[in-house]
Amino acid sequence: MIFELTDQQRLVKDSVDRLMSDRYTFEARETIRKGTENWSRERWKDYAGLGLLALRVDEADGGFGCGPFDTMIVMEAFGRALALEPYVSTVLLGAGLIRLAANAEQRARLLPPLCEGRLLLAFAHSEEQSGNDLRHVAATAAPAEGGFVLNGKKTLVLHGDSADYLIVSARSSGATLDPSGIGLFLVAAEASGLSRRSYRMIDGQRAADIELNGVRVSPDNVIDASGQSLPIIQQVVEETIAALAAEAVGVMDEMLRLTSDYLRVRKQFGVEIASFQAIQHRLADMFIALEQARSMAMFAANACQSDDASHRSTCIAAAKVQISRSIRFVSQQAIQLHGGIGMTMEYKIGHLFQRATMIDTLFGNGDHHLSRLAAGSGLFAALDGCASDSR
């Protein structure tokens, strides 16, 4: 087992932490959040400049070929600062799908500009009826002129409003819940037949509903028409859950810091409220929840290094259960211990709470993943140790 960051990771961590504390104070974030796009293209350039958009892209495609623990470092910093930029949609989901599913020509066309911050992607997969079932795809892809024609509706497309291209999942065969028959298609946001309706979500980030009415996809924009895209979608979603777990750790870490700071300055009954033991014990329980979550975020990142898909799914489900449980407790208590000030939009803690709820719920909440785990063979099935237990 190795727990220490590499020297390179430490440098990445130092630089992203420095960037966020210099340029992403709560006041700066408020200005960004209230701006026209609700996120900052300036900061996006900074991320590109630091190489954060290129971490997981292969070296052959102009990236750094780093692993999931590098993503973890970045996401934790983003969580602390509540970064609003489309990192999840463009880098984790978008570049993730391209990395795993696209051909060399497409990678060479898309990834360099993406790494340099000039191309934004979004993943149009969820549909109104899908719930948490990744198999649910009703949108269709019909062959036409060497390419395909897409029809259907997608919902909750994260940052779908600002994306230059959408990666759309659509079905060329099978029933709506059939695991096979799903393909991936690249569609320009401006394509004719595509319309999008965008809205703010509870955490201030944006998403869009997309309608596809006879949208034509030329052959060079067909990413995967084998009908076997589901395992790739599954893997990318799971890598994203792992990254969100790290973001959750950042969110909770910041909540705990703000809360303990506040408890030492706020006085009632003539003393600091931190001197009340009921409050101290709540704080201790928040700390425990945070550290347990941190362990499971590492567990999730570790699982993303594995080639065994069912092992990875089990580990990711376990991590999401812990993250959801922890973040719900920590975020609720953070508000509670702040009293009234915790309820206002003027103070960071409430914004952290909203992001916490978002992460808790995205890609299946704790209960969802718990019932998946309960149906499986568990984390300690084989007599084995630590992370290799669940194989």
Partner: protein, 423 residues
């Protein structure tokens, strides 16, 4: 590539200064090949060396006899593994903290008994850290071989969480101390021939500053042990009365009046050992087996989904705790010390909460089958069906309420954590 260049230029200034220590093996929670082989060796040993009768008792959470623990400790000691964490010259192995944890985890998973912690984890480390050469030679080999059975005389009727308020006195009289007072909750004192005590040697100073650490031979006149029955009907704790007990001054460990600092060192040791991750793994594995096999009247079948979810939730918490524990140990290996690390208190709080939740789950799975008492004394020393899992679950559930009370109660652990966060 433009981007690549920018990150590299950011890294490069650091690169030069670091070049010799450049480390690029990524974080990885899987065991290394060496760690895996080590664990296999350890496991093979337990599988072959552990007597079946003992394994079965541990699995059903029945008490071992004194002789059984002595026998097992000597098997370990012959192998050189009775006190792996001790200094090599006193029988230790030289393993780092991670290997030690793998050893303990494997031992627990194989349902092998742990050695008597009062000797191997408490007074042993106190003696090799603070004792003199004569004490080390006299006591350490006998602890490793369980020739001496030690018990811990800290708590008193008036001194629990506020241990420093203890009242047992030791008054110097020539080359002896005369000890008077009462210790309580003394685990397995009925088997012990030695007790290590905190005693008050100075009443004039701050309460922490007047405490000394004394080793007392229980055969000394004036030492009396009275059994206390616990709520599960068992006998593991006792009162120990000390009435004008004459203790030679050479049995003082370290310096007079510095006993409190030694005790704090010891409680730190106690806390990290208390997570018992391997034991919980073994239990959860049993739960899973039972959920798959338990059938017939009153079986788990009716509530199987709920039980499965409770099992899954506990597995998640345990996995998180296991990783937290390795993180704490890795930091310990790096920095040399954890006692000021509030994460060590997480191990105590979470470890005990998980064990208690498992005991509750198993109780609920047994349902009404758990309610009859199978008293070995009423049955001529035998259980009706010695292998039925339902017989001991209610006793275990009751008995394990203790684990969040002793070793620094979970409330005290939360105080420690909060103090660190707020400092």
């Amino acid at each position: 590539m433009e981007v690549r260049h920018s990150l590299l230029s950011l890294i490069r200034p650091g690169l030069h200064s670091l070049s010799s220590s450049w480390k690029d093996a990524d974080v990885n929670l899987d065991f290394t090949r060496e760690e895996q082989e080590f664990r296999e060796d350890v496991r093979c040993f337990f599988q072959t060396a552990l007597p079946d009768s003992i394994r079965r008792k541990i699995r059903l959470n029945r008490d071992l006899s004194r002789q059984e623990l002595v026998d097992w400790t000597r098997i370990l000691n012959r192998k050189g593994w009775a006190v792996p964490h001790w200094p090599i010259e006193w029988g230790g192995t030289g393993w780092g903290p991670v290997k030690q944890a793998i050893f303990l985890d494997t031992l627990q998973q194989e349902n092998a008994p742990e050695t008597l912690s009062f000797g191997t984890s408490m007074v042993g480390p106190i003696i090799y850290t603070f004792g003199n050469e004569e004490q080390k030679r006299r006591f350490l080999p006998r602890i490793a071989n369980l020739d001496d059975w030690w018990c811990q005389g800290f708590s008193e009727p008036g001194a629990g969480s506020d241990l420093a308020s203890l009242a047992t006195t030791a008054i110097r009289d020539g080359d002896h101390y005369i000890v008077n007072g009462q210790k309580t909750w003394t685990t397995l004192a009925q088997h012990a021939n030695w007790i290590f005590c905190l005693v008050r040697t100075n009443r004039e100073v701050r309460k922490q500053a007047g405490i000394s650490f004394l080793l007392i031979d229980m055969a000394t006149p004036g030492v009396a042990v009275r059994p206390i029955q616990t709520i599960d009907g068992g006998h593991e704790i006792n009162d120990v009365f000390l009435d004008n007990v004459r203790v030679p001054v050479e049995n003082l460990v370290g310096e007079e009046n510095l006993g409190w600092s030694y005790a704090k060192f010891l409680l730190g040791n106690e806390r990290t050992g208390i997570a018992r991750v391997g034991a919980s793994k073994a239990l959860l594995r049993q739960v899973r087996e039972l959920l798959d096999t338990d059938s017939g009247p009153g079986s788990v079948a009716g509530d199987i989904l709920r039980f499965r979810e409770r099992l899954a939730a506990l597995e998640v918490e345990l996995k998180a705790l296991e990783i937290t524990q390795y993180r704490v140990l890795a930091r310990q290996a790096e920095q040399g010390d954890t006692r000021q690390n509030p994460a060590a208190s997480i191990l105590k709080v979470k470890g005990t909460e998980i064990q208690q939740a498992i005991s509750e789950l198993i109780l609920d799975m047994a349902g009404a089958r758990a309610l009859a008492v199978h008293d070995p004394e009423e049955n001529g020393g035998h259980f009706a069906d010695p292998d039925s899992w339902t017989q001991t679950v209610a006793a275990t559930y009751a008995n394990w309420r203790k684990i969040s009370i002793y070793g620094g109660s979970n409330e005290i652990q939360r105080n420690i954590i909060a103090k660190q966060i707020l400092s």
